[in-house]
């Protein structure tokens, strides 16, 4: 048997196998119907932002401090829900190289307000978000999708003169976003 003839036989056998495999188990007429549907998944996350700007996606939010003999005023910023689901909690990590200890406090239900840049008042509920000496701190602060929470950063402790930068990282795990649910519709 020549090589070309052998090849032809193999091709014929393969074609027959394909036809047999493609033949439906039920012969005769068949009825079909189809419909298309789109499915999209949610996202969850949060990031720091200035009070009037956009969140710093992908990098920690930073605050710069200049400690003078007059001390240093607190600073205010927002933590924005960057996802599409409501958040029940977030994990905050605040770091600073040298300088004072920085304490974060959220004002839930209202924005921090200041008078002449001093202190700050919260008409809502204050929730501690940890500080620069406590490492990662999980805080149960609810932030609805499309919303934010107002945060005050205050320098405390012994204040050494100089300039410092605080880095604030916000992490959101799946368990800190809304719980899974079953819907019927």
């Amino acid at each position: 048997m020549t090589r070309s003839r052998l090849g032809s036989l193999v091709a014929t056998a393969a074609t027959a196998l394909v036809i047999v495999a493609a033949t439906p188990a039920w012969a005769g007429e068949s009825g079909t119907t189809s419909r298309t549907q789109t499915v999209g998944s949610a996202s969850w996350g949060a990031a720091g932002s200035t009070t009037s700007g956009s969140p710093t996606i992908g990098t920690p939010f930073t605050l710069s401090w200049t400690v003078t003999v007059l001390g240093v005023n607190p600073q205010f910023f927002k933590v924005v829900n960057t996802g599409t689901t409501n958040l029940n909690a977030e994990t905050y990590t605040t770091t600073i190289s040298g300088g004072p200890k920085v304490v974060l406090t959220a004002c839930v239900g209202a924005d921090w307000t200041t008078v002449l840049g001093l202190g700050g008042s919260c008409a809502g509920t204050q929730v501690a978000l940890g500080d620069s000496s406590s490492g990662a701190t999980a805080a149960s602060v609810s932030i609805p999708a499309g919303s934010y929470v107002s945060v005050k950063a205050a320098a405390t402790g012994v204040l050494s003169l100089g300039s410092y930068t605080t880095s604030i990282s916000v992490a959101v795990s799946r368990s800190q976003a809304r719980a899974a649910r079953t819907t019927n519709s």
Binding site: Q37, R174, T183
Partner: protein
Amino acid sequence: MAHLARHADSNAPRRTAWRPLAVAVTGGALLMTAGFGVWAGLNATAFNTSPQSVDSGTLSLTLGDNGAGFSSAISNLAPGDVVNRYVDLTNGGSLDAQGLTMSVSASGDSQLITDGTSPATKALTVSVTSCSTTWTPSTGACTGGTTTSLLGTTTLSGVASAQSLISGSIASGAVEHLQISMTLPDQTETTTNGTPITGTIQGRSATLTYHFQEAQRTATTTNS
């Protein structure tokens, strides 16, 4: 007299030339007459005075939404979420059917279609349950009826080829009340500073096309 005889003798060859032709024509005429006589006898016929009607059966499978069904998109699905949608499949032809199957063609973000691991633990899964009465879409209740699992939790890649829902007979006019459950398996992902992990399941989209198919009943031979 002798002259006449000579004259007759001189015409003899001419008579013998046309005589066979005349005989053949005459004989053929006789045969044709005899032949027609055989077929010209009596004939008897029978037929149905009322024409018999023969119709072919029809096989028709139609899909209707019960509630949102497939017409409304599923959005903002978080890991662990289950979305139940309801559709009615009607075997609307005149023939009974058998072998109802379902397959799903998926396109879009691969993270929702296949997570590349086995067994799949991240991508979407689908299951099908029937209700002997009617599903109530708003509650997911099968009031007064019984539920039957037609397809257990299966990955989309597992339903890329047709999967059997009902292997037996489906009567003409029967309606199958189906609950299609779409699940995004629970999983852990942490988003840092608004940026999800590489290969995240978040913010993904896929387009799913559900195909339902049934076959005609087995062909039969009837005597009546």
